[in-house]
Symmetry: none
Subunit: 141 residues, 4 copies
């Protein structure tokens, strides 16, 4: 199953709605396909200009390594040089913290990833998860 633009729009909208519900700081949210390429992105007013790169970095690392941001952070804590090496391979585009969340379909296949940034990493991940679940897909933070 591919992640369609229709599903991606649902994810973006529901992620930002969750942020407003939790009264988080302005969020930015990106949806990538299974190859790490951008399908959709929105940045709320008041967010800093670098947020696209941060959101994408969270989601891109999840896609390329096949693990969510929480798992990546654990690896970075335990083996910093490994995550440094990953960033060498992927042109510095990996941000190994919560907020990068894998999107799986009903069969468990990775069909994309969502990256959220703006509030604490844990809140970013919670908003992304809410967005993915609103599209009836499975989130792996």
């Amino acid at each position: 199953m591919a992640l369609t633009i229709r599903k991606a729009r649902t994810i973006v909208k529901a992620t930002l709605a969750k942020g407003r519900e939790l009264e988080l700081k302005p969020l930015s949210v990106v949806v990538l396909d299974a190859g790490g390429h951008v399908i959709a992105f929105e940045r709320e007013d008041g967010a800093s200009p670098g947020r696209f790169d941060i959101a994408r970095g969270k989601a891109y690392g999840a896609i390329m390594l096949g693990m969510g941001g929480t798992a990546q952070m654990a690896r970075a804590e335990n083996q910093a040089y490994f995550m440094a090496a990953m960033n060498g391979l992927f042109d510095g585009k990996v941000v190994p913290v919560p907020g990068g969340v894998l999107v799986r379909d009903a069969k468990g296949a990775v069909i994309g990833a969502v990256g959220v940034t703006g509030d604490s990493s844990e809140n970013d991940a919670a908003a992304a998860t809410a967005g993915i679940e609103a599209a009836r897909l499975t989130a792996e933070a």
Copy 2:
């Protein structure tokens, strides 16, 4: 006046609607702020995965050089080495063809740019212009 996420959503939606009205190939559309940073992006199903980079390249060049894609193409035709030099400065992120369109407010100030890709460059520019005008802003292709 700043280009808000609300205005950016209107531009994205109206640009894609214009593409469907004209029966263009699947389009991708990006909206950048006055600093060249991404506010919103959508890629329609069936578009190739590199379309984010191409759309952004059209809009980014428009912002950084202060001229629309049509004007940039004229410069590239007349003085190819100048555009090559611009790409050296801006890390290869400038795509000097129609479809990169400046967004001006009622006072004539540049408040952002739109980049569209997917069909012919001329059709891309027409869709971007329709999107900008739907948001009651002024397009400079």
Copy 3:
């Protein structure tokens, strides 16, 4: 439909067999998925060491731009600065000549690309096409 490793192996084997049948110079062949990521590669003995990058560059450009190498070459001949800009966007990884061939499934969706290098560009493309057809898929050179 995804391009499986089983299909990719068939493509590699049949591409190289075509090269031997036509008595071409040593060939190198890469198979990429729909996101431009490597599934399989082989380089025949006697090929120069840079052939992986050349093969991948042919296939990668096809994926990112959604057009085969023959179409890319026509664009490069007509509008050199456009292809130069594409290489700026994609880190110099686009080789716009025949031998980069899109792979489509029965519904017409792009599911990957094949890149072949070693002989003339036209012979490279012929071998890639034979490989793709041996896997019962559709080639767009």
Copy 4:
């Protein structure tokens, strides 16, 4: 003695067979020549898209530094800045963990390297070693 494509195919096939025998996660395996250039690669279905870069990074570091991934990891643990410096020299393409394995011929000369990724680093190295030995060559993990 050079590492031929025939030997490389044997290594790839036997490495993946070992992975299936040990019930490892989907593996990716690359074979490089004595100059660090790709001869052959395969990525099993279900592996994440970044696995080519990771596999090559393990094998490339082994070739350029003349030491296997296990020895590189020991160096990274003791002297992280040294490995960071190596990655500066080699464009971020060195992944200093087990799974990068040198290939030596009967006389002890390095004729290439194998990189495996997908399961734990130790299991990756075990699969690579099995692949190299199936080709009647000597592995240095």
